[in-house]
């Protein structure tokens, strides 16, 4: 039986993973709510963010510089994808867009292998956060606490942006009823593009942030894509709260599953998904009630 101290440690680990998943899933989820479109290459953007961060850290020696720049590059790549490929099939069908992004996964993995090679890499945590702090007599890496704090900060900023700004109101209106919002003169296309780029920026951020905790390798994109998609399904598309709740559930299920039921650890997150599909097929906190 795990003692309370190690329980707290696991709780923190779960929270840290949940925050990473939140950074990845929130953009996906809101874009899905807006345009019924899901970017399956979202994990690819995350992987590119991590590898670009690696290059920047090697070139400049500064983790913070990489943290500031790599997500911008990731957002730029996302914007480029959108302009070159996704816009082309905009009005046609959401399905085509999704399949195009699926093809991009294949390309992304090989591009990364070509540029950075087929190795496992890691970025060291910045000197400021390289130490551990003592929590209930156990040492806990302070970098992980930073990840948790960053995730919470992003969640609060996004919530304020969505609830308190005019732009947020536009996005909420679009999610609520796209046709109605558009006929009131709101440029849904532009809102979609903005949210899409913000989502890519967050994915790039997640890539750099995850690098000192998880390993960087070609294939890390699909490894994170699946839990991220499950978060969107579990949380319910279109809502920030849903993405947050879904991230917490999946983060905790994965972490505690590995500790309590190691035999079935790889199965836990799918079990949560199945349970939610059974009980609340539209997700736990969808932005719109299921039709």
């Amino acid at each position: 039986m795990p003692d309370p101290a190690s329980l707290v440690i696991q709780l923190l680990n779960g929270l840290q993973y949940a925050m990473l998943l939140f950074l990845l899933s929130v953009g996906l989820s809101v874009v899905f709510g807006l345009m019924n479109f899901i970017n399956l290459a979202h994990g690819t953007v995350y992987m590119l963010g991590a590898f670009l961060g690696l290059t920047l850290v090697r070139a400049t020696g500064s983790f913070w510089g990489a943290l500031a720049l790599a997500p911008l590059f990731a957002a730029a790549i996302g914007a480029l994808f959108y302009a070159v490929l996704l816009r082309r099939v905009q009005g046609e069908s959401a399905m085509k867009q999704v399949l195009v992004t699926f093809g991009l996964i294949f390309i992304g993995i090989d591009v990364v292998r070509m540029i950075w090679g087929d190795y496992e890499e890691a970025i060291a945590a910045p000197a400021l956060l390289a130490d551990s702090v003592r929590i209930w007599g156990q040492l806990y890496p302070s970098y992980r606490l930073f990840v948790i704090a960053l995730g919470l900060l992003v969640a609060i900023v996004l919530w304020l942006g969505l609830e308190r700004t005019r732009l947020g109101a536009v996005v909420r209106a679009g999610v609520d009823d796209r046709v109605m919002a558009a006929s009131l003169g709101i440029n849904i296309e532009a809102a979609f593009f903005g949210v899409f780029c913000l989502g890519c920026w967050l994915a790039g951020l997640a890539g750099v942030v995850a690098a000192p905790v998880l390993q960087i390798y070609p294939g890390m994109d699909v490894a994170i894509l699946i839990p991220t998609l499950i978060v969107v399904v579990v949380g319910g598309p279109g809502s920030l709260k849903g993405a947050l709740l879904g991230s917490l559930l999946i983060g905790m299920a994965e972490t505690f599953g590995a500790v309590l039921l190691p035999e079935f650890a790889s199965f836990m997150i799918y079990a949560v998904m199945v349970l939610v599909l059974l009980l609340r097929p539209g997700g736990l906190l969808p932005a719109r009630p299921a039709a």
Binding site: L99, I107, D110, V222, I226, S266, L278
Partner: protein, 317 residues
């Protein structure tokens, strides 16, 4: 879809069969082995076409059922010592039961949601077999016994005999599916693909039909999976990895959604391309992905659609 006249379907179908038999007759062991592989891919692609092209359910996890069929056959023969002849139908049936349970959960989900969930379920299968110890985990398990066809004077260890069997099975699967699609059942399925609300308003139990299509497609994929073990004698989590689900979808889209025969040609083209590319470059996945994107963006109705357009034009000359 469905606009293809039966006479034309017969001609194209017979042409494909003739091409397969000619390839069998004129090629050596390696070529015959490839033909067997293509026939398996063709069954797999036709099963997905039933689901995507006719049922309107785009799945990115279809390899789950291909792999489950293969693993079920391996388990029944290696651990329970069943003869392969009994294990093969049992493996298909077992996969059908799993598909019924999963399908019950997900067939009502809308298009994009369905894609995400099928991708997740596919990876669930992969994660399970990659971790488990009974079937050798990530390394897989070899030595799956083959059907004993000595009574017919055939030996499946011989690629030529195997290719003939696989082509025969693929032909039967095609005939059954064509029959199914032309039946009243098929008419209902294509009706609910075109307009589910209207079908529902007419009193059609939409979910039940979708579930039936999902399960039949899964069982045919399982059949293809069992044949794969007969060809290689080997199971590994690679059978149900996400790229495999992606590849079979590429075959269907290249060939032409909802044309059954198109995906067969797509399977042949893709299998050959895959072999050629992976032999000449380590970065074949990037080429494959670019191909996928290009096909989705520009090909529209695929090979079969192009053929149909061509014959229409010729007729009007």
């Amino acid at each position: 879809m469905n606009a293809i006249p039966i006479s034309q379907r017969r001609i194209v179908g017979l042409a494909l069969l003739a091409a397969a038999l000619a390839a069998w007759y004129f090629s050596g062991y390696a070529g015959q082995d490839r033909l067997g592989e293509i026939a398996i891919a063709a069954i797999f692609a036709m099963s997905l076409d039933l689901m995507v092209g006719y049922g309107g359910m785009v799945s990115l996890g279809h390899a789950l059922f291909f792999g489950l069929g293969a693993y079920a056959l391996a388990g029944l023969t290696l651990f329970l010592k069943w003869p392969a002849a009994a294990a093969l139908p049992a493996a298909v049936l077992l996969t059908g039961i799993v598909a019924l349970v999963i399908g019950r959960l997900i067939v009502h989900l809308g298009g994009v949601f369905f894609i995400m969930v099928t991708l997740a379920f596919g990876q669930m299968g992969w994660a399970w077999f990659a971790r488990d110890r009974i079937f050798g985990g990530i390394g897989g398990l070899s030595g799956v016994p083959q059907l004993d066809l000595a009574a017919f004077g055939a030996d499946l260890a011989n690629p030529g005999d195997f290719a003939l069997l696989a082509v025969a099975v693929a032909t039967v699967v095609y005939l059954l599916l064509a029959r199914l699609i032309d039946s009243p059942f098929g008419a209902v399925v294509s009706a609910l693909h075109r307009n589910a609300n209207r079908a529902r308003a007419l009193g059609c139990p939409v979910q039940r039909y979708k579930l039936a299509v999902f399960t039949v497609a899964a069982m045919l994929a399982a059949l293809a999976g069992t044949l794969q073990t007969q060809r290689t004698g080997f199971v590994s989590p690679d059978l149900l990895v996400w790229t495999s689900s992606g590849e079979v979808l590429i075959m269907v889209i290249i060939g032409g959604l909802g044309s059954l025969l198109g995906p067969i040609a797509g399977a042949a083209l893709w299998t050959l391309l895959h072999h050629y590319l992976s032999a000449v470059t380590p970065y074949w996945m990037a080429i494959m992905g670019s191909f996928f994107v290009a096909i989705v963006l520009f090909a529209g109705e695929g090979l079969y659609g192009a053929l149909a357009r061509l014959t229409r034009r010729l007729r009007h000359v």
